[in-house]
Amino acid sequence: MRKLIAILIATVMACTFVPLVGAHQDTIVVTLTPSGTVNIDVTPGTWNGAGATIGSTGTSGATDFNLSNIGTVPVDVTIEAIDTTAWELDIATPAHDQFTLAFNVSVAGTWTHFDETPVAFIGDLPVSAEAQNWALFALEVEMPTSTSTNAAQETTITFTGTAA
């Protein structure tokens, strides 16, 4: 019994002391190379607003634009745009020096207005072509009802992809 108790005590002490005995530390540096990348592409990269004039609406073809997921992970995509130098981008209605933009993703079939605040464009866009890693869509611009300038105006639509 005494031996057993002595063995047990010795074991407990050994367990207790292990961290002390091994107090000297070493490290393993683990470098993890990302295996996934987010990358999207949209074509074409330019548009002339369908030649719309003041007070009119310009609409592209339903499938004129194509946004593709060319990364390695499914992505959520948002869309936003900016004011021109003389015209304000409005979310709702055109007015003097004020225009609107909208998109229509083919699979959705409805027009969605957008402005400087990012809004969801498409969610969980797959990676593989077999799973349709692209989205065809149309754009629409409602020109100002009147303008303070006759100069051509430029705006940029930005799509942002993040890992879904």
Binding site: V30, I54, T156
Partner: protein
């Protein structure tokens, strides 16, 4: 009955240094400190060394925790490009607005009844020029000689008449000349602020070589601002 008061040894009251190489006070420390001795680290132990040794235990744990944090951070940093990946694509839109510059003035005729050497003028903003186009415009004004031999000048003379305009907002008479001159600038197409009222003043020639009816025309020209 008085409770027994335990007498502490005098050494316990005063910290006492001792060299670990001399004699480990306890087997616990001899195991631990023996490891240190192998590394040749000088160790000073006091009677309270049982207490002072504990921070070494904690320090070891802290080191492990720090190492764990560093590893976790390294792992996190490595994954950030994936989790927080942000890639953009753009479409540049050029809008050629093809706006229309369009103005009209009302009324379009005026028939003053002034005789030779007399002056006549309208009042209260009798004429109104409106921007009914789709773009802000600058407007110029010019006059013309008459159809039957009178000249437009800057003061009335023989066969020379003088005509002026007065924008209501300006309140001063300005000559109308053969040459085009600014009339109004940045006239908005927005309803409510797209008009400007004005009056005309005619000074007839001081004398005339004929008594035929005379017709002159005032022309306004708008260009996109």
């Amino acid at each position: 009955m008085q409770p027994k008061r335990r007498q502490l040894p005098s050494q316990a009251q005063q910290p006492k240094s001792s060299n670990i190489n001399a004699k480990p006070p306890l087997s616990f420390f001899s195991l631990f400190l023996g490891n240190l001795r192998e590394k040749g680290e000088p160790v000073t132990l006091t009677k309270q060394s049982g207490i002072s040794a504990k921070p070494n235990l904690k320090e070891g744990k802290k080191m492990k925790q720090i190492t764990a944090f560093i590893l976790a951070f390294a792992v996190l940093m490595s994954f950030i490009p994936v989790v927080g990946a942000d890639n953009t694509a753009t479409i540049d839109i050029t809008l050629n607005n093809s706006a229309t510059a369009s103005i009209n003035v009302t009324p379009t005729t005026w028939g003053p009844t002034a005789g030779i050497g007399e002056t006549q003028e309208t009042d209260s903003g009798h004429f109104v020029l409106a921007n009914n186009g789709t773009v802000t415009v600058d407007v110029t004004i010019k006059g013309s000689n008459t159809t039957n031999g009178w000249y437009l000048g800057t003061s009335p003379e023989h066969d020379t008449f003088h005509i002026q305009y007065n924008l209501t907002v300006a309140g001063s008479w300005q000559n109308i000349l053969i040459a085009e001159a600014p009339f109004a600038t940045t006239l908005s197409p927005v309803a409510g602020i797209n008009t400007c009222a004005f009056d005309l003043k005619l000074e007839m020639p001081t004398s005339s070589s004929n008594d035929d009816p005379q017709v002159t025309q005032v022309t306004f020209t708008a260009t996109a601002n």
